[in-house]
Amino acid sequence: MTGNVALPRDGLRRRLSARLTRSPRSRLALLLTAPLLWLGLAYLGALAALLVTALWTTNTFTGEIERVWTLDNLRIVVTDSVYRSVTLRTVGVAALVTVIDAVLAAPVAFFMAKVASPRWQPLLVAAILLPLWASYLVKAYAWRSMFGGGGLIDWAGAPFGIGSPGYGLTATVCTLAYLWFPYMVLPIFAGLERLPDSLLEASGDLGARPGRTLRTVVLPLAFPAVVAGSIFTFSLSLGDYVAVEIVGGTSQFLGNLVYDNIGAANNQPLAAAVGLVPVVVMIVYLFLARRAGALENL
């Protein structure tokens, strides 16, 4: 019975399989349809729709979006000096966070990949991964209490005459650099681990001192991994608006502006227009990253 039923199906399956083997095109279609529908249609569609909303307006009495075409929102975002300064502040902080993370992550990743014994390696990776599980909000509040007057920083720094800088951009940079640090270490570690030791030995055998090997062999080969990590630290910082509310004092970021307009004022078109700023910044960044070969390395 089962055999009878299975036979035709089996035949169909064989034919299909043979067809797929013969035609890479159908195989590709089979593989790519679902991801393309999801990411291409759903996600890109949503992004495109966002752009469209930015060209509409909102009726503030009813809160309804009115589909009247206008460039007003984009004009406000481009010409109003406040949006320019917030954009510069946000991009500047995101860049600074990325640089700090890269500088701190490089020695750690190098030690993990090339110096630590195989027994220590998994423990170190676990140490990097553990903080990721303590909720983001809880960690941000922990930093808030550390930076507060009489907090851990004041307390530990008192004997040396160091005080907390209080809430503001410094606290924001520290908090964000802390939150995103694992996202920088792991790609660099993975990149260095794939670097064959023999290559480094060859460099040494040819007479290069460690400093030179580092500069001429390790750095160029690890660079794409650093760029890959920076995509995370940079974009995560660029879109953050929660940590800055918690430790940022009076500072506001692009994310806060988007949030204020959509969450409180129900002005989705202006929120969308502001939201386009980080999109443009990130797309430029991704193109540069692709040139550095980082996308293959992510």
């Binding site: 064989r14 990411l39 110096v115 640090f181 995370f232």
Partner: protein, 267 residues
């Protein structure tokens, strides 16, 4: 690479110091979970087990934990399927627009969460007219989780090459059998690592969640936020964070054991 003893020691110290600094905020969280000061004052005002007791008896907390696990599992499942399909098509085929597709996969995680959040919020509510729900949240999470699965799988495929699959086909297996009996087992650990990272990513996500979950869908991060801002409930979140860190040792250990890949996967 030959490193001088001093360099090795310097590296060891630098690593130790940086990792130790990373644990300071965590220690603050753990200490605060026993701090009798409701506003996390420092130094701690006194020792109390009240927050631990209250966390253990909180039904809303357990419900939120359950919701988060369900959302993370569903998003991970979708991400595993989409990520694997995308990785296989990009690794095995050369076609027009290939670069664009690889960029597309990365886009949801590369663009700031607030952009993904409002784009999807806008698409669901304004364009499609779909009310926000647990399902819309899963769609949103899966979208940015695809990339971690994709990265792990494509890296594994690159390392594997196609020899074993060709051998399987030469021995008479059809394409499906080959995938099921050869390719998939070889990718198992990469899928596991990618899946775990996707799970973790979804589990602690708050920004996209805020924009794509219905008010009734309370994930753990949202529960934490709700409680942080309710009088006298704030300290309980330190307990939750402490417990999560301790519990997270389990998945990290499993990943490392199963994958034999010390990084437990790639971000």
């Amino acid at each position: 690479m030959y490193l001088t003893r001093t360099t090795r020691i310097a590296l060891r110290i630098a690593t130790a110091v940086i990792l130790a600094l990373g644990f300071v905020p965590l220690i603050v969280v753990v200490v605060n979970s026993f701090n009798s000061d409701r506003a996390f004052g420092w130094p701690p005002a006194g020792f109390t087990l009240e927050w631990w007791y209250r966390a253990a008896h909180n039904a809303g907390l357990l419900a939120a934990l359950r919701t988060s696990v369900v959302v993370a599992l569903l998003s991970t499942a979708v991400a595993l399927i989409l990520g694997t399909l995308a990785a296989m098509s990009l690794q095995r085929h050369r076609f027009f627009g290939r670069e664009a597709v690889s960029l597309l996969v990365i886009l949801p995680i590369a663009l700031p969460g607030i952009v993904t959040g409002i784009a999807l919020n806008n698409a669901f509510r304004t364009i499609l007219g779909v009310p926000l729900s647990l399902l819309t949240l899963v769609v949103a999470h899966a979208t940015f989780c695809v990339v971690v699965v994709f990265n792990n799988v494509i890296a594994r495929l690159r390392r594997l090459g196609g020899d074993l699959e060709e051998a399987s086909m030469d021995l008479g297996a059809d394409g499906f059998t080959t995938f099921w009996r050869v390719t998939l087992p070889l990718m198992r650990t990469a899928l596991l690592a990618g899946g775990l990272l996707a799970f973790a990513l979804s589990f602690d996500e708050i920004i996209v969640t805020r924009f794509t979950a219905s008010q009734a869908t309370t994930t753990l991060p949202i529960w934490i936020m709700d409680n942080l801002f309710r009088p006298n409930q704030a300290p309980i979140v330190n307990v939750v964070a402490t417990a999560l860190v301790i519990l997270s040792i389990i998945p990290i250990a499993i990943a490392q054991r199963l994958s034999g890949d010390p990084s437990g996967g790639r971000v």
